[in-house]
C-alpha cells in the first residue's frame, strides 16, 4: 500500500482557476523524505492542505497509508502532524504550555506527556526558553517551538513541514535536518514543501515539482541532477584559437563528453567529463590555470525546468 496515493486531484478556490488540476502521484517514499518543490502559487500549499485534511478535494481522491482524506480524516489526523509556515502558536502562552496543550489535544496519555515534553524541549534546544511566552521569543525560537510540536506525538508517522528551516539559524537548521534524517531512518515519513535548495540537497532523495497546479516532474534527486543540474561549464579566460577549438570539439564529440559553446566555453555532461577534459588539456600542454569552472546547481536545474515549461 503506497504511503501517498493521489488520483486525478483538483481544487479551485474560485471555481474558475484551478490551484490543483488533475494531479496524480503514487509513492512509498522509500527514503522517508519527499520534497515538494515549485514556484510561489504553484499549488504546493493547497496540496498539503488537502493531504492534511484541512481542505476537502473537489475532484479526485487522495489517500495516506491507504486511508481516504475525506472518508477517514479522523484516522488520518491521528497519524499525521503539520508544521505550517504561519505561526499557529498561542503567543500569550509559554512554549511548554503550548506544547502541553497540543499533547493533550493529541490524546497523549498524561503519564507519557510530561516525559515526552522534557525530551522534545531538550531535543530542540528550548529548555532555557520553555517558560517564556511565545511572544517574547525570537523568530528562530518560535520556529523551533513549532517544529517541536510537530514532532511531539510519536504516533504521527507522517509529518508535513512547510519550509522546515525558514528563519532558523545554522544551529537550528542542523538540529532540524539531523532529526528529520534520523527519524526517517526509524520509519517516520516526511513531506516537505521547500524552495531552499540546500535543504533539498541535504535531505531529499525523492522530489516532486509542481507548476501551475500540475505535477510536472516526480523523480529522484540524483536523476534530477543528472538531467537538469549535472552539467559543468568550463570557461576559458582567453578566446580559444580556431585550431584548438577544432581539436577540442573533435575530442568532446568522440568521447561523448559535451560540446563547445561560442569561442571560450565548454559545456560538459558531468563531473567525470570534466576530469577527462583536464587530462586532455594537460596532455596538449594547455595551462589549466586559465580556466574557470562552474557546476550547475539545483537552483540552475530548477530554473531550467521552469524556463523550459514556460517556453
Amino acid at each position: 500500500m503506497p504511503v501517498l496515493e493521489i488520483s486525478n486531484l483538483s481544487f479551485s478556490y474560485d471555481g474558475k482557476n484551478y490551484a490543483l488540476n488533475g494531479i496524480n502521484l503514487s509513492t512509498d517514499i522509500p527514503s522517508g523524505i519527499l520534497s515538494i518543490l515549485g514556484p510561489n502559487g504553484a499549488g504546493k500549499t493547497t496540496l498539503v492542505n488537502i493531504l492534511t485534511t484541512t481542505f476537502r478535494p473537489q475532484k479526485g481522491t487522495a489517500k495516506i497509508f491507504g486511508l481516504d482524506v475525506v472518508k477517514d480524516k479522523k484516522k488520518i489526523r491521528g497519524m499525521i502532524s503539520l508544521c505550517a509556515q504561519d505561526l499557529e502558536l498561542d503567543v500569550l502562552l509559554s512554549v511548554r504550555t503550548n506544547l502541553k496543550f497540543y499533547g493533550m489535544i493529541r490524546g497523549i496519555p498524561k503519564n507519557e506527556l510530561e516525559k515526552r515534553l522534557d525530551d522534545i524541549i531538550d531535543m530542540f534546544g528550548l529548555t532555557e526558553h520553555q517558560h517564556k511566552r511565545v511572544l517574547e521569543l525570537s523568530g528562530g525560537l518560535r520556529r523551533r517551538t513549532q517544529l517541536a510540536r510537530a514532532f511531539l506525538d510519536p504516533r504521527s508517522r507522517l509529518i508535513f513541514i512547510d519550509e522546515p528551516t525558514l528563519g532558523l539559524d545554522p544551529i537550528g537548521k542542523k538540529i532540524t535536518w539531523d532529526l528529520i534524517r534520523e527519524m526517517s531512518k526509524e520509519g517516520y515519513y516526511f513531506i516537505l514543501t521547500t524552495n531552499d535548495m540546500a535543504e533539498v540537497e541535504s535531505l531529499s532523495d525523492e522530489i516532486v515539482f509542481i507548476h501551475k497546479g500540475k505535477i510536472i516532474l516526480h523523480t529522484t534527486l540524483r536523476e534530477f541532477k543528472h538531467v537538469y543540474a549535472g552539467k559543468v561549464m568550463v570557461t576559458f579566460k582567453k578566446e580559444l584559437s580556431p585550431q584548438l577549438i577544432e581539436m577540442l570539439s573533435n575530442y568532446l564529440k568522440r568521447n561523448n563528453l559535451g560540446k563547445i559553446i561560442g569561442k571560450d566555453t565548454v559545456e560538459l555532461e558531468d563531473k567525470s567529463a570534466f576530469y577527462e577534459l583536464l587530462l586532455f588539456l594537460r596532455d596538449i600542454g594547455f595551462d589549466i590555470t586559465q580556466i574557470v569552472v562552474k557546476e550547475e546547481t539545483l537552483l540552475d536545474g530548477f530554473i531550467k525546468l521552469i524556463g523550459g515549461i514556460e517556453k
Binding site: T52, V91, L92, L93, G103, M104, R106
Partner: protein
C-alpha cells in the same frame, strides 16, 4: 483528555492575563461602589409590592453586566485563535469544535459564577439579601445559561468580524445602549417608551430581569426559563456553525 486540553488552555490564558481576571472581579464592584452607591440615597424602589434598597435592586443587574462583559473577552480570544491558526491546529491535532467551544463556556462560566457568588455574598453581608438553596441553584443555572449566550456572541463576533478595530468599535458603540436599555439601574417599566422598546430587543434585559426575579423573588416563570434556554442554545449552535467555516473541512 482532549476536552481537558482545551480547558487547560483556557485556564492558562486566564492565568497569563491575570490583570483581566482581576478586572472581572473589580469592574462589577466599581459599578456597585461608585455608580449604585451614588444613587442609593436619592432613589427608593418598590419592587413587586416590596420596598427594597436601591443597592439590592441593582445587585442582580450588576451581576448581569459582568456576564455581558464575558462577550468582549471571548470575542478577542476567538479572534486571535482564528488569526493565529489555533482552531485549525487544534482540530487537525484531533480536538473537536464542540470541545473548543465547550471549554470556553465552562471556564468563562466558572469565572462568572465565582464573581457572582462573591457579589451575592456581599449582598447577604451588607444588603440583607436572603436566598434559599433552591434559589441559589436556580441562580447558578441561570448564570450558566446567560453566560452561554454572551460567550457565543463573543465567538460569533470573533469569527465573523475580522478587523480588530471594527470589532472594538462595535463593542464601544453597543456597550452603553446594551447596559442602559436593560433595566439595571432603573425600575423595570419606568424608562421612556423608546428605551423600553429597545430594551425588549436587548437580550441583557431578560438576563437582568431573570436574575433579579431569582435573587429577589425566589424564582421566575417557566416561560422565562424556556426563552432564556432557547436563546442560549440557539446562539451556541450558531457559534458552532460559524466557527466551522474557519475550521478544517
Amino acid at each position: 483528555m482532549r476536552l481537558y486540553g482545551f480547558i487547560y488552555r483556557e485556564i492558562s490564558l486566564k492565568k497569563e492575563a491575570i490583570g483581566g481576571f482581576i478586572s472581572q472581579f473589580v469592574t462589577p464592584l466599581m459599578y456597585f461602589l461608585f455608580f449604585a452607591f451614588s444613587l442609593s440615597r436619592t432613589v427608593n424602589f418598590e419592587y413587586h409590592g416590596n420596598t427594597i434598597s436601591y443597592l439590592l435592586y441593582v445587585l442582580p443587574g450588576i451581576i448581569a453586566i459582568q456576564i455581558f462583559y464575558s462577550y468582549p473577552i471571548v470575542s478577542s480570544t476567538t479572534f486571535n485563535d482564528v488569526r493565529f491558526g489555533i482552531i485549525r491546529t487544534s482540530l487537525l491535532g484531533g480536538g473537536s469544535l464542540s470541545g473548543y467551544i465547550l471549554a470556553k463556556i465552562l471556564v468563562e462560566s466558572s469565572v462568572v459564577i465565582l464573581v457572582s457568588l462573591f457579589l451575592v455574598f456581599i449582598g447577604i453581608l451588607f444588603l440583607k439579601l436572603s436566598i434559599s438553596l433552591t434559589a441559589l441553584l436556580q441562580f447558578i443555572t441561570y448564570l450558566v445559561i446567560s453566560t452561554m449566550f454572551w460567550i457565543s456572541v463573543g465567538i460569533v463576533t470573533g469569527v465573523k468580524i475580522r478587523g480588530e478595530l471594527t470589532r472594538n468599535m462595535i463593542f464601544t458603540l453597543l456597550n452603553l445602549p446594551i447596559i442602559f436599555t436593560a433595566p439595571v439601574f432603573y425600575l423595570e417599566g419606568s424608562a421612556p417608551t423608546w428605551i423600553q422598546i429597545l430594551g425588549r430587543i436587548n437580550p441583557l434585559t431578560y438576563h437582568v430581569v431573570g436574575l433579579r426575579g431569582i435573587l429577589l423573588l425566589g424564582g421566575i416563570p417557566i416561560t422565562f426559563w424556556a426563552v432564556s434556554i432557547v436563546l442560549g442554545i440557539s446562539l451556541v449552535i450558531l457559534s458552532i456553525k460559524l466557527t466551522s467555516e474557519v475550521a478544517p473541512k
